[in-house]
Symmetry: C2
Subunit: 228 residues, 2 copies
DNA sequence: TATAATTCGATAGTAATACTATTATATTTA
DNA sequence: TAAATATAATAGTATTACTATCGAATTATA
C-alpha cells in the first residue's frame, strides 16, 4: 500500500486552478511554501508577492497557477479533504460491521492530523491547522452559490455525505443524518480551534478528547451500541 | 416590560469602539446602515468609504467611531449576542425546572431571529444573517488571542457558559458540557448557512427543524427527559 | 537538428483599499 | 460669548490585487 500511495494523486476540480500545480516543480513549490506561509502569516496577510519572494519566483508566475489567493485556499482545502477521504476509505475498507465502521470513521475525521510521508511537498499537520483556521472563509462569501455550482466544494460534500450515509446505515430511523454529519465535520474543526484559543468553551484538552466527545454524541443519538 | 426594553442598552466592551455609536445620531446611522450594507455586499466588499457615501457622511468621520471594519464587525456581533442573551434571560427568568429551562434556552438559541421593535435603528433579522455569514471571520484571525484578552468576545463566551451551566445542571455527570454548548451555538449558525447554500448537507429545511435537531441531540446525550 | 510552443521572470502600470493627517466649519456647552 | 467638541472635506500614503507585455530559457515536436 505504501507504494500505491507514492504514485497517488488527489483529484481536484480543474476549474480551481489555471495550471495544475502538480504538473511542475514551481507548482509544487507554490503549494508547499504557501502552506508554510499561510500558517505563519494567516490568510489575510498572505500575498502572492510575499510568496513569490520566498520561493525565489515572481508574483506573475504564481498567477499562472491560480487566479487569486482565494482559489489557492480552495485548492489546499480540497486537497486536505481529498486526503482525509483516502485515509477514511483505506482505514474502513472491507469492514463489514456498520457500527464499527462508523466509529472508525468518526475517529479518522476528528483526531489530530499526523504527517504523511506519501506527499513529500505537503505538510499535512500544518495544512490541517490552515483548514481549522481558514476553511470557513472559503465558503462564507458572496460567491458561494456560483462556486458551489462549479463544483469547488465537491470533495467536502462527498465526505459529509459518506458520513451521513454511514449514520443512516447504523440507524435508518434517525431523522437528521446529514445535519449530524455536517455538525461533526465542522464541529471538529471548531473544537480544535477552541482548544487553542478559547479553552473555557471546550472540554477537549488532550489528544482523543475530541474523538471521544463526538463518538459519544453520535452513538447517544442513534439506536445502537458503539461496540455492538 | 415593553417599557423596560425601550430604555435598554446592550452593554458592549468600550475598547471595541473609539467613540460610542449609541451616543450620537451619526453613530446610530453608522450601525443601522452598516447592517444593511454588510448584508447586501458581504463583509469583504464593504468599506467605510461606501458606507460614508450611503449615509451622506464622510469616510474619516466613521473612523472616529471605529478603528477599522473588523472592529465594527466585532461591535455588531457583540450587540447581537448581547441581544440574544437578553432574549434568553427574559424568556427563562423564574423557570424552576432545569430541564424545561434548558429546552427553552436551546429553542431561543437555535430558532430564526424575529424583528425586535425595541431597537429602532437595528434590523435584527439582517443582523442575524450577518452573524451567520460573517461571525467566524471575527475570530479566525492572527489577533484572536490579543483581542480575546482585551475582552472582545466576553458576551459570546458568557452565552456559551450559560448554556454549558444549564447542561451541567440537568446532568452533572455529563463530561462535555462546554463542548456541547459551543457545538450548539456554532452549529446552529452553520445549519442555517447550509440550509441556504448547501441543502444536501443538512436536514433542516423548515422553521423549527434546527431547534428540533439540536434539542434531540442534547437530550439524547443527557440523563434526563426533555419533558421530565 | 531546427523550429515551434511553452514556461517563467522581470518590469511596469492601474484601480481600489485601508488608512492618516490637516484644516475648516458647524454645533453644543459652559 | 468663548471654548470645546463634532463633523465634513480634502489630500495624501503604502499596500494590495491584480493585468499586460516582453524577452529568455526550456521543452516538445517534425
Amino acid at each position: 500500500m505504501e507504494h500505491l500511495l507514492q504514485s497517488l494523486k488527489i483529484g481536484i476540480n480543474e476549474k480551481i486552478y489555471v495550471k495544475d500545480p502538480e504538473s511542475s516543480d514551481l507548482g509544487k513549490r507554490i503549494i508547499g511554501e504557501s502552506i508554510l506561509m499561510i500558517d505563519a502569516l494567516g490568510f489575510e496577510s498572505f500575498t502572492f508577492k510575499k510568496l513569490g519572494l520566498k520561493i525565489g519566483s515572481n508574483e506573475s508566475s504564481i498567477y499562472r497557477y491560480f487566479e487569486n489567493k482565494h482559489n489557492l485556499l480552495l485548492y489546499l482545502a480540497s486537497w486536505y479533504w481529498g486526503w482525509l477521504e483516502y485515509q477514511l476509505v483505506f482505514a474502513t475498507n472491507g469492514m463489514a460491521d456498520v457500527t464499527g465502521k462508523l466509529k472508525k470513521t468518526i475517529e479518522i475525521l476528528t483526531k489530530p492530523t499526523e504527517e504523511d510521508s506519501a506527499f513529500s511537498h505537503i505538510n499535512e499537520v500544518l495544512l490541517n491547522k490552515i483548514v481549522i483556521n481558514e476553511y470557513s472563509k472559503s465558503y462564507l462569501t458572496k460567491e458561494v452559490d456560483t462556486e458551489n455550482k462549479e463544483g469547488y466544494f465537491v470533495i467536502y460534500k462527498r465526505l459529509v455525505n459518506r458520513l451521513s450515509a454511514m449514520i443512516a446505515a447504523v440507524d435508518s430511523a434517525y431523522a437528521y443524518p446529514s445535519s449530524l454529519a455536517s455538525t461533526i465535520l465542522e464541529g471538529s474543526l471548531h473544537q480544535h480551534f477552541l482548544k487553542d484559543h478559547f479553552t473555557s468553551l471546550t472540554d477537549c484538552r488532550n489528544t482523543g478528547d475530541s474523538t471521544a466527545y463526538f463518538t459519544q454524541l453520535v452513538f447517544n443519538s442513534l439506536n445502537t451500541e458503539p461496540n455492538g
